[in-house]
Symmetry: C2
Subunit: 469 residues, 2 copies
Amino acid sequence: MALKAIRSGVRNETGIVEAIAALKARFGERLQTGQAIRAQHAHTTTYIPAQLPDGVVFPENSAEVQAIVGIARENGVPLIPFGTGSSLEGHVNAPHGGISLDMSRMNRVLSVNESDLDCTVEPGITREDLNRDLRATGLFFPIDPGANASIGGMASTRASGTNAVRYGTMRENVLAVTAVIADGREIRTAHRARKSSAGYDLTRLFVGAEGTLGVLTSVTLRLHGIPETIAGGVCAFPDVGAACNAVILTIQSGIPVARIELLDETQVKASNAYSGLHLPEMPTLFVEFHGSPESVALQSSAFAEIVEAFGGGAFSWTSNADERAVLWKARHDAYWAQKALRPDFAMLSTDVCVPISRFADCVEATREDIRENGLIAPIVGHAGDGNFHVGLLFDDKDPAFVDRAEAFVERLNARALAMDGTCTGEHGIGQGKMPFLEAELGDALDLMRQVKLAIDPTGIFNPGKIFTR
Amino acid sequence: MALKAIRSGVRNETGIVEAIAALKARFGERLQTGQAIRAQHAHTTTYIPAQLPDGVVFPENSAEVQAIVGIARENGVPLIPFGTGSSLEGHVNAPHGGISLDMSRMNRVLSVNESDLDCTVEPGITREDLNRDLRATGLFFPIDPGANASIGGMASTRASGTNAVRYGTMRENVLAVTAVIADGREIRTAHRARKSSAGYDLTRLFVGAEGTLGVLTSVTLRLHGIPETIAGGVCAFPDVGAACNAVILTIQSGIPVARIELLDETQVKASNAYSGLHLPEMPTLFVEFHGSPESVALQSSAFAEIVEAFGGGAFSWTSNADERAVLWKARHDAYWAQKALRPDFAMLSTDVCVPISRFADCVEATREDIRENGLIAPIVGHAGDGNFHVGLLFDDKDPAFVDRAEAFVERLNARALAMDGTCTGEHGIGQGKMPFLEAELGDALDLMRQVKLAIDPTGIFNPGKIFTR
């Protein structure tokens, strides 16, 4: 299982010392080796123990990234690209040591093409900063994984989140990237046309590669018009199955819901306490509709009919921005609300995703598992995509409890795979999901390995992630 | 330029003889070597001279594909996967000889998951057969490149067509594939969840790979609900610029138009003659809206306002299925209508795609080029994607005319690339676009080569395509 499978790795001590010296000479104070900053660059919201890099470097442009890649390559030292550290599966750990490449100073908006609904940004910009920057254009970048992640990190984990049911994931919303590859060249994967049949889809190869194929230096994103009307609402259901089935029918009916989030009663309880909501402690859907006033009204009434059919409570919606903000702030804070249920415990936040028809089955079987094993584990999900998260609270100082937590995660993943689902809908593989990826893809994983070896022959880019061997 | 750049290739004569013998022993009459059938498997609607395979084999299941791949690998002989032969850029030619793998007997629907809006099919099924099969479910597969192509071929060229502006391309609508790779294993690239962050995006790697990485044995597709209402219409504009600008504003306004096709006046003339239409010989848009009756009415009236703003003629729309069918039959026959303008000439059908804001500029500059050079070359385009086709009629027996045709294509591609566009929006690279791919992607092409070498180390899969070296 994940926690145990993470190898300590073999450190290239000489190379590391020489790389640090070369980086120090070139970058001065922009190469940091203090314990605190190194710990901060391995620390994420993950349950996986931190493995610190040996240094952290802060490049400011592509040429500097190229220089860093050159130093790493010459000395055979790992490079771990770092965005904001909101990863949940140990992506930014340094199991073999090496250099964390903090991209936060490469955070400029390079161009906005309003008339083409696209923009090109440096990878270190966060999604909230980007949207602040875009506000005057009437456009926005919809992908919203909850955390204020960096665009480079989101591209690298193929992030999605609440809006994906309507706007797609990073897979659909990255038009092109530039990246510095192992030999130091900066390549561009595509031009700005909305579609292309020009050879292999290198853009999609870098999206989701978790920094294992090169260092992103820019990302070209598809933008969307800020909807004329946004309306949202909340609705409680008698049981989780009813809530899930309402979601399934909403998707099958083709209602273009922008967000449709499931919170089970444990999550509602946690969010009431943490975010000061006053929702009934019942399985609940948070929904949002985008469009013209007429279209939003049509969507809302079609949805209300479905809610009624599944015995949901009165569904009321509002286009009042402040009321919606409270709701979505609470949704974004779900992670912290979960943690606050047992501040003395560690939390293992994990996700799986199944075909929508199996969503109710998978959530219900998982809740049964939680009950049977006496675990505290709220469930919150991007229901419209068949994707849900479990925030498992466990005592990481009690080895027996750790075993129980790991066994639960194994069962969860096996359950999702048996339903033709995936071991991760949006968190990525990192270190935590490595064994499940093997179970999911079998021989296809060899193809990924071949691609990795071909593009990064010396293995300097984020080693010890995705692949167990 | 393309026509001249295609190398004759080096044939492995011994290997070919031995592979043919082994295939004959295994497949009997399902291995054909007659001239006519070989010519038919190199002949496509391309302008590129045919290069015949040495034999054509008709597998009926994955195990047979695995056996064929084994024979090809052991004898070092090229394998060229063949769908329906509707390729436009020489994808099914055999520049080094080898075996054409005709997938037409692998044309079953393996499963339809109505509740998940997906299905899995064998690659040889055509899109029309698939949609006929799906009719009772209320679902359809929207991707429509015009020709009744096979799903495997469409996946392999990342096809799109008229509906892509609303439903996306094969990139967005293939959920997973199975493929037989060079070592003979059959791999599956993904499970059926709507989204996944589980490692490299192998699905998107095979989509658009043009059969150069393996042989597809199944394709899992995203399906869509047949819209409650479909309404379409035709609208003439005073000039091409006005028509293009109406398209640009439609897209920028976020009107979810399902189809928006530009025909320039030469194309309208050709389609009037070939398809018995009676349209004014002016630049024209064919449009279609999908949705509820209310939503279609909203879309249509929003579009009508835009048409008026750009001086378009009266825009009338109809939801009468027969009237729409006449229109779209004519649109699908555009290729044949173009050819009929000069039956004594050859036709070079090519496509480029630019960011939507440059669509008017690119089309107008191309028309100016056509006029200046006294060429006959109707333009028809998937305008909403910034994608257009030129059907250049030329005398392939006159070397000077061939040179003029090639020089025109070079300028067309250079123009699209200079506008941050791509040398092919949907036809693929094949043989015809190889030099332009290099111009488009530069060093990134090396990454594609590395991937190709890693996955197909002996180069048996469709050699002489995509890569000039």
